[in-house]
Symmetry: C2
Subunit: 233 residues, 2 copies
Amino acid sequence: MEATLAVSTVIFSLRASGSFGADERERSIWLPLVRRIRAPHDGMWALPGGPLGEREGLAEAATSTLAKTTGLAPRYLEQLYAFGSPERSGEDAERVVSVVYWALVAEEEARAARIGQNVRWFKADELPRLAFDHNVIVDYALWRLRNKVEYSRIASGFLGETFTLAQLREAYEAVLGRPLDPANFRRQIEASGALVDTGQVLTGVRHRPPRLYRYNTTVDLAEQGPLGRTAEK
Amino acid sequence: MEATLAVSTVIFSLRASGSFGADERERSIWLPLVRRIRAPHDGMWALPGGPLGEREGLAEAATSTLAKTTGLAPRYLEQLYAFGSPERSGEDAERVVSVVYWALVAEEEARAARIGQNVRWFKADELPRLAFDHNVIVDYALWRLRNKVEYSRIASGFLGETFTLAQLREAYEAVLGRPLDPANFRRQIEASGALVDTGQVLTGVRHRPPRLYRYNTTVDLAEQGPLGRTAEK
DNA sequence: CATGTTTATGTCAAAATGACCTTAAGTCGA
DNA sequence: TCGACTTAAGGTCATTTTGACATAAACATG
């Protein structure tokens, strides 16, 4: 059956919460939205996305959306869900099925990202009313992120190549919304074998210099089963 | 972008493994496949599916596929994945994006199901080479099922309205492929609060009559987050 | 009424978790 | 230079959860 097919992406990154009085290092989840410049929902904020190219895979389309919107490459990308209820584009509008991906980009890179004219970053838990069913989609993506953080090492997707255990813990805390015991966190991460000690330390801090770790790439970021990276590209 | 959109369903049920010498009660995972009667892949076995109706939701389409193939209503239905790599239908064939669902049907009902001419049930781990990328899809669905069984109460989707703890445990064992300690299983299930004692017992067995339980519907079968049953229908 | 069979409950050691304490290693200011 | 300060790193211990196994309870059958 012919139906209009679109691919959208929920792009998550961390940045300072920004509220006065808050700890400078306290971070929260942000995502970029684009302002629609045509009907329906003209003027409203929406998830970045676009049509699926002729010879383009689904994940490929999501990646190129991400590049166009933020100029960034994702540190993690996974399909979220396909939305296709007949009413989602409005009453008598054309029926659109959206395959939605979600992505993580590193905090540092996101800070340096060039941002387009009609693009703005929003705190994920303080969104305005979005176009279409995009509020539901973001809620679901957030739920998936918070779930996945508990049983995978996905949080490192917010960080750079190397990072300290404190940075990793702060990413976990930002996603989960609660503090974690640093000692117990260290114990669990070390036991999982997910990290590799680089042998280097982070200098320039006014206290004991923390070790720098790298992600152990022999273990998958997030278990995706038979759908290894190459299956969908 | 216009693209052909199809909805397929991986339908799982339990039934006796059927190998001689095996314990009569040992069950394994089976699924129905349909024989293709047109190109491409004419004559090969494939997942049941079809095009998406004009005013039909995605899950709706999956349900109707299931009804057409087996005449059954699913005890559980969840979206699996959207497959859309350009090469998946073959070289110069038309590009098809498939939204795939997976479903559980009760063992008893499946036994009574009318089965069409070109439909046959296969053991999930002894499949022939299927049409398109359907082997990959089934593998992924199996992986998801086995994963989900560990952290949700989804296995009851294979059972009827009421069941004994032994029946529930056997469903778990069939999916996980390993035996579970009956005593520890009981302790965990009871602690989870997922079951409600019906007050009845199963009679007619030549040993201590087991209690019959019902699923506690105030707890979700499988946590799906903000995508409650009603979101996609 | 003894036997067989499975349900239902209990025990205990090992492993994992959560709360908290101590020491290490740097910067910074006096 | 030295003490204060701050965070890293590692350790202790009580509690909870898990896995392995033992015992009692309740029926059908002969």
